[in-house]
């Protein structure tokens, strides 16, 4: 990139998370944008401050200390643009995920068509679907009204009707919404997003327009029965989310003013980057981004021209943990645990941790439990997200994870770069990638901030992505095999750039590594045994270029889907062995 295209503006990005707020500075160094430093502070969305502006100022103040540069003036206002004395920044962008889940009711005509689109749309941000209303709903309208009044949703998402199609049925579905809104006090009325039959927008305005907190329209998510186009509605929903947060939490408005409107939900900003990456770098395989922290698990995938974004607050590792048992069993969590932990201790952990979402594991036992819980939460999120992946994508087997290149991982649990082996094993266990893929840790949690920055400066994300701000963990080879435990399933030969060579035989059930440093490129020749498949087809090997990383080339011979031994002692031994192999210890 010629430096003349870079106008030299510094950019501050604020990430207001559920537990922590981070201030990250990007600036031009030697003609290209770079991640410079970040400062953080506890998020202040909760009582007693209930003002995210405070947490943002504290994070910026910490960043100032690190940089030795003034960013806030005497009244703790952001100095913008940068001043001749070096203080201040030129622009600000914000990614926001803090705050309570947005209680949402989805409305659609048919369960498997428009209601499914409404669910997918609602799941693209930090919502909890508290009720669904459709033609399949057996409740009477007055029961639906009572349900809405009891649940007091923040948001109603209405879909249904192809463009120019059904209107009478939608009118029928709108009746209880309008009547319930009419009965609610004005300040408790929900925001309504109509993403259905575009010909009905005037009617919708007449029916519920004056009875909602605000009424929004987006292009139809189902313009025809066969077509689904959620992207424009996702964009509108992202705006609505910020509007709802402005009503709920002080300080969001200030950040919106500071950023001149460049404020996005964190998940949406991540999704935007994944879409961009899929467009620019996409191969036949998809691009996957996973992020898990206190507020939610986020799975964003980009495929050739299509993308999905799924936000699961129910799988977040904070206040929702006490409800995780609604989606899984204690046994299924404990299968991942490297220590002998009882179900009672785990249950107590889930409830106690939900009281203190920002707390971290200080002891080895707490760490082992937290890792097991994170694995299961991310596993559940991935399983849920998979059902919404497009049908015609690169895969080895439809019941397994599709082929991705690369997989980007971020969030509090995964971004700890001090022991990338821990993060890698967590990802291998929960995502169960198949074939050959590169795993990249977003150690500074930059991806959503780059997504937010893209609206302000489209050169910055590209240059930062290519600058080494992300940590490549390595290339992972995960063959599909039906062999017995201990049987060789693959032989690999790695040719280094200096002419050296390393060999390895992978046995079913084991994890092995070959060293290949970050920045190094090697040529990997794979010979599969016993009909194994690494993406070249069953029983077929091949040669491919691979890039290095903190752990080199990692071979995961544990099979897909991953079946852990049922004997607890043996299982824990294996988990500890795999951890040791990957340097997690």
């Amino acid at each position: 990139m010629p430096s003349s295209l870079v106008d030299g503006n510094s950019l501050l990005a604020i990430d207001v998370g559920a537990a922590n707020t981070r201030a990250v500075l990007f600036d031009v160094i030697e003609g290209e944008y770079r991640f410079v430093a970040s400062g953080s502070a506890p998020t202040t969305a909760e009582a007693p401050l209930k003002d995210v502006g405070e947490g943002a100022r504290n994070a910026i103040a910490n960043l100032q200390k690190i940089l030795g540069k003034t960013l806030l003036d005497n009244s703790r206002g952001l100095i913008t643009p940068s001043q001749p004395n070096g203080s201040g920044v030129d622009a600000l962008v914000v990614a926001l995920s803090a705050g309570p889940v947005v209680k949402t009711i989805i409305v659609g005509l048919l369960k498997d068509v428009s209601l499914d689109s409404a669910r997918r749309l609602a799941e693209s941000t930090y919502t909890s679907i508290v009720d669904t209303i459709s033609l399949n709903d057996l409740r009477k309208p007055d029961q639906q009204i009572d349900s809405i009044l009891r649940l007091r949703p923040d948001l109603v998402v209405i879909t249904g009707g192809t463009d120019g199609g059904a209107s009478r049925s939608i009118q029928k579905l709108l009746e209880p919404i309008g009547l319930a809104d009419f009965l609610l006090p004005e300040e408790q009325r929900p925001v309504v997003l109509f993403a259905g039959n575009e010909k009905m927008q005037d009617e919708v305005k007449n029916l519920v327009g004056s009875l909602t907190a605000s009424l929004h329209f987006s292009p139809n998510v189902r313009p025809s029965l066969e077509t689904e186009d959620i992207d424009p509605a996702e964009r509108e929903l992202a705006r609505i989310f910020i509007d709802i947060r402005k009503q709920q939490i002080k300080g969001v408005e200030l950040l919106e003013t500071w950023s001149a409107g460049h404020i996005l939900p964190t998940a949406y900003a991540t999704g935007r980057m994944v879409r961009f990456l899929a467009k620019v770098y996409g191969t036949k395989k998809g691009i996957l981004s996973v992020d898990i922290d206190a507020s939610a698990a986020i799975i964003s995938a980009g495929f050739n021209g299509k993308s999905t974004l799924s936000v699961y607050p129910q799988f977040g590792l904070g206040e929702n943990l006490s409800r995780l048992q609604k989606y899984t069993t204690l046994e299924d969590i404990l299968r991942w645990c490297s220590l002998d932990i009882s179900k009672g201790v785990l249950r107590d952990y889930l409830y106690q941790k939900s009281l203190y979402p920002a707390a971290i594991a200080a002891t080895k036992e707490d760490f082992a439990i937290s890792q097991a819980v994170s694995r299961q939460a991310l596993y559940l999120a991935m399983q849920s997200a998979r059902r919404d992946f497009p049908k015609n994508i690169a895969m080895i087997k439809p019941t397994l994870t599709p082929l991705f290149e690369p997989i980007l991982a971020g969030g509090g649990v995964l971004s700890d770069a001090s022991r990338p082996g821990h993060s890698l094993l967590l990802l291998l266990d929960s995502l169960q990638p198949v074939g050959v893929t590169t795993i990249i840790l977003d150690q500074n949690n930059l991806l959503p901030l780059l997504g937010a920055a893209a609206s302000q400066n489209n050169i910055l994300p590209v240059q930062v992505l290519e600058s080494g701000a992300f940590l490549s963990v390595g290339t992972v080879v995960s063959p599909l095999s039906a062999a017995n435990y201990g049987t060789p399933i693959l032989r690999a030969k790695l040719h280094y750039e200096n002419g050296a060579e390393a060999r390895l035989e992978l046995k079913y059930g084991s994890i092995e590594t070959l060293p290949l440093s970050s920045g190094e490129i090697g040529k990997l020749t794979i010979q599969v045994l016993r009909g194994s498949d690494v993406g070249f087809g069953p029983g077929r090997g091949g040669t491919l270029p691979v890039s290095g990383g903190a752990l080199g080339v990692v071979f995961d011979g544990r099979g897909r889907p991953l079946n852990l031994p049922s004997d607890a002692v043996h299982r824990r031994e294996l988990i500890n062995k795999w951890n040791t192999t990957l340097g997690g210890g």
């Binding site: 202040t44 504290n58 007055d142 939490i249 009281l355 971290i360 022991r419």
Partner: protein, 351 residues
Amino acid sequence: MQAPVIHIIGLTSIVRKRLLPVSGTVLARLNQKVNPVDVIAETSWAHEHALLDVARLLRVTPTVADRLVKCKVGDLIGANTELAVAKGLFPRSVRAPREGRVVAAAGGQVLMEVGETKTVLKAGIPGTVVEIIPDRGVVIQTAGSLIQGVWGNGRIDSGVLVNLTEKPDSILAAGRLDVSLRGSIILAGMVKDAETLLAAAELPVRGLILSSIYPSLVQKAREMHYPIMVTDGFGSMPMNSAAYKLLSTNAKRDVTVDAEIYDRYSGTRPEVIIPLPISTNPSVPHEVETFAPGLQVRMSRPPAMGMIGLIVAIKPGLTTLPSGLRAPAAEVKLENDETIFAPLVNLEVVG
């Protein structure tokens, strides 16, 4: 770094809002002295609705149906009252399914509120009404001890505090609950079985103050009609020494257990209020603190979860913890004289 605060204080000013769930009539007056059982506001509240599709039932158009409807918005209607009648040789009619009030009538439909019940709001805590919030409730100020907890079942009541514990990790069993405890608030330690909660309901008691509760009992605790407040958490956790000392030394006093559901965004927390006689109003507690040496803290995660200690020093930079994670940390001297390093995010200031 800014620190979360939990109040466990011997003497402080306590100012609390008491609000109706929906609009109603405020009965209390400004500067009125109130007792916990005094009714300060009331309202009538319909939890259900009946939607009558008059047009469909009479088989007429909505416009015609609107002309046939005899009631109007605001009318109180008795059960089975005729709301609309069609013309004809054998005229069909639409009748009210239940007693209720018409809240909307248009488009060929009538919407009624049914099942109205009267709701009264009691003061809950003794004190002085210092502010009236029109149509919703009041703000009450009192002075005394304040002990906040981590979980509550959403109920509130007042009574004499009876201490059934011998030590902070005592366990309350159903057998300890006899008729002499009827109407009391019980300082009870841990509860490990549903029988104990049910036995307390049968007496009935006016409240349970627990150190911890088994997660499996949470749903049962929510169903109890008396308030249950948990001071420290879930599982088998002893009561923190600061709360235990205050509560056990105030036995036989009148106390209020306001077992509010903990909401981190609004700031509501379950709490016990022990009103105390005062000559001058004590100061209100600090809601915001910054971690610093000398502050009293409680550990929110292991090691020493639930224990109280004093911050000796804030460590510079990041500290590597036994878990391998690195985080800003403090050196904390625990009440058992042990000194540990704890991440700041695992500490809450007690004060």
